[in-house]
Amino acid sequence: MDNKLIIAKSEPLWNTNNRVVFLISSLIILLFALPLFGLNSFYLHLFIMIFMHAVMAQSWNVIAGFSGQISLGHGAFFGIGAYATSFFYIEYGISPWISMPFGILVSGFFAILIGIPMLRLSGHYFAIATLLIGISFQVVFQRWDLVGAASGLWVPMTSEDSWSALQFHSSKVSYYYIFLVFFIITFFIVWLLSRSKLGYRLRAVRDDPQAALSLCINVSNYKIIAYVISAMIMAPMGSLFAQYILIIDPDRVFNIEISIIVLLITVLGGIGNVWGPIIGASILIPISEYSRIYLGGTGGAVDLILYGLILMIICIFRPDGLISFVPKDILERKKQR
C-alpha cells in the first residue's frame, strides 16, 4: 500500500472544526439562557417564529435541497399537523402531545400517497403538481364541516397554564422552550441525515438521477423517502403553531404563503445546506415581523415585495445562498488540498 493512500485513510471522516463546535454549543446555551434576561413578549414571539420557520424551511430543504424535488405545496403538511392536534383535542380531549405523533404519521402517509404518482414527474411538473395539491387541501378543509369548514377550529382555552394541553397563557416562555427544543432536534436529525448513507444517496439522486440508477439507487423510492421525511418534519410545526395561536382555519394553516416562505427562507440561507434554513429564517422572519409592525394593515404586502427583491438579488449574485459567504472548510466540508 502506498503512502498517499495510508495518509488519506488516516484522515478523519469529517473535518470537525473546534471553533464551530464551540460556536454551536455557546449559541445553544445562549438561546436557552435568553428568556432568563427577561425578554419581552414581542421578542419571545419573534424567536418562536424564527425557530418555527427554520424547522419548516429545514423540512423543505430535505426534499428540495437534498433530493432536488421542488415542492410548492408543503403547507399541506403544516395544515395536517395543525388540524390533527386541534381536532382531537376539541372532540375527544386528547392531549396534543399524543395527537402530534398521529399528525406526523398522517403527514407521512399523505406524502407516500402523493409521492408515489407525483414523484414520477420530473422537475417543473412535480412543482406544479404539488402547488395544486397544496391548494386543494385548503379547498377541501374550507368545505369540510367536521373540522369546522371555512371558520376553522377554536381550541378551548384552559383556565391555567397546562403542559398536557400544551397551553400557556401567562407567558410565552414555555412556548419559546418547546419551539427551541424542536428546532435543535430537527437540526440534528437533518444534520445526521446529511452525513448518512441516505444523505449521500439523496444528493446523488439530486445531482444526476441517471448516474444514480447505475449505482443501484432506486431513484423514485429515494425521492419518496425524502418527501416522507420532509412531510414528517413539517407536521409538528403545524401542531405547535395551532397550540400557540389556538385558532386555526384553512386560510391560515393551508395558506400558499407557507409553501412559498419555506422556499424563500431556504434559498436565501442556502439550499441543500443544513445551515441554510437557520440563516434564512434568522434574517427573513425579523424583516417580516418588523415590516408588519411598522407598516401595519395598510402595508400588508410590502414584506412580500421585499422578499421578492431579496430573492432576486440572491439568485443573481449568490445562487448558493448567504451560507456561501462562509468558507466551506470552516463548516464541515473537507477540502484540505
Partner: protein, 240 residues
C-alpha cells in the same frame, strides 16, 4: 463461464432500427470491444443491456439469469456497472463523495465505505484529487472518476462507453493502462471505442456494428480482415 449472453436484441426508434437482432456472448475475465461508425447503435446497445432503454425484443442473460426488462437500478444491483459517453459525475460533490456513493452499495459503515472508495480512487491514480469537486476535474480525470464510481459497486461486468473519447493524446495511454489493470483485477469488460488501435490492443473479442446491425463478431484479427468491417468502418479510417 458466460457472463453475458445477448440474443436477437432489437430496438427501433420510430422507423429507425437502432439495434437489429444483435447477438453475442462475453466470457468471464475477457474484454469485448464494440466498434462501429457514429450512429451504429453502440450506445443504444449499452442502454438496452443496462435497462436505460427498454428493448423491443430479444434476450439478455447475466450469469444465466434473465435481466431483460429489469430497471437500471436492479441491473446494477446484480453487478453490472457502467460509465456514460456523456459524462455524468455528481458535479457538486467531491471525487471521494462520488465514489463513496458507489461503495455504499456493499458497505453500510461510513468509515469502511470511505476507505474502500479511497482504495479505488488510488487504483485509478487520482488519490491527490480526492477532495476536489467533480466539476473542477479535467475530462480525463472525470473519465477516471466514472470508472472508479462504477468499480465501487464491485461489478462483475463493467460497460465502458468511449473511455478514450474526447481526451487529448497524452491522456489516452494512461486510460488504456487502467482498462488493462481493471481486466487483471478480474472484471469482465465491454468497451465502446473509436480508436481502432486501442481496440485491437486490449480486446479479446470484437463486435462490429453498422446501422444497428451486427456485421462481424470475432477475434480482433478476424475483424481486421473482415471485408464488411473494412468497407463500413476501417476503410474510412484508412482513407482518412
Amino acid at each position: 463461464m458466460k457472463v453475458l449472453s445477448v440474443e436477437n436484441l432489437s430496438r427501433s426508434f420510430g422507423g429507425i432500427k437502432a439495434n437489429d437482432n444483435i447477438s453475442f456472448e462475453v466470457e468471464e475475465g475477457t474484454i469485448l470491444g464494440v466498434i462501429g461508425p457514429n450512429g451504429a447503435g453502440k450506445s443504444t446497445l449499452f442502454d438496452l443491456i443496462t435497462g436505460y432503454t427498454k428493448a423491443d425484443s430479444g434476450k439478455v442473460e447475466f450469469f444465466n439469469k434473465n435481466i431483460f426488462g429489469l430497471s437500471p437500478d436492479k441491473i446494477s444491483n446484480l453487478g453490472v456497472g457502467r460509465t456514460f459517453q456523456k459524462l455524468k459525475p455528481f458535479a457538486d460533490q467531491t471525487l471521494l463523495e462520488n465514489v463513496m456513493i458507489g461503495s455504499f452499495v456493499n458497505e453500510k459503515n461510513i468509515k469502511k465505505a470511505r476507505d474502500r472508495a479511497l482504495e479505488i480512487i488510488d487504483f485509478v491514480d487520482l488519490i491527490e484529487k480526492r477532495h476536489h469537486f467533480a466539476k473542477e476535474l479535467s475530462t480525463g480525470q472525470r473519465k477516471r472518476l466514472e470508472m472508479a464510481r462504477a468499480m465501487a459497486i464491485e461489478p462483475k461486468l463493467l460497460l465502458m462507453d468511449e473511455v478514450t473519447g474526447g481526451v487529448d493524446q497524452k491522456t489516452i495511454p494512461g486510460l488504456v493502462d487502467l482498462i488493462k489493470k481493471l481486466k487483471k483485477s478480474g472484471v469482465t469488460i465491454i468497451t465502446i471505442e473509436h480508436n481502432i488501435n486501442i481496440i485491437m490492443e486490449i480486446s479479446d473479442n470484437v463486435l462490429a456494428l453498422d446501422q444497428g446491425k451486427s456485421i462481424a463478431y470475432g477475434s480482433p484479427k478476424e475483424i481486421q480482415q473482415n471485408k464488411q468491417v473494412i468497407d463500413s468502418y476501417l476503410g474510412t479510417f484508412d482513407a482518412a
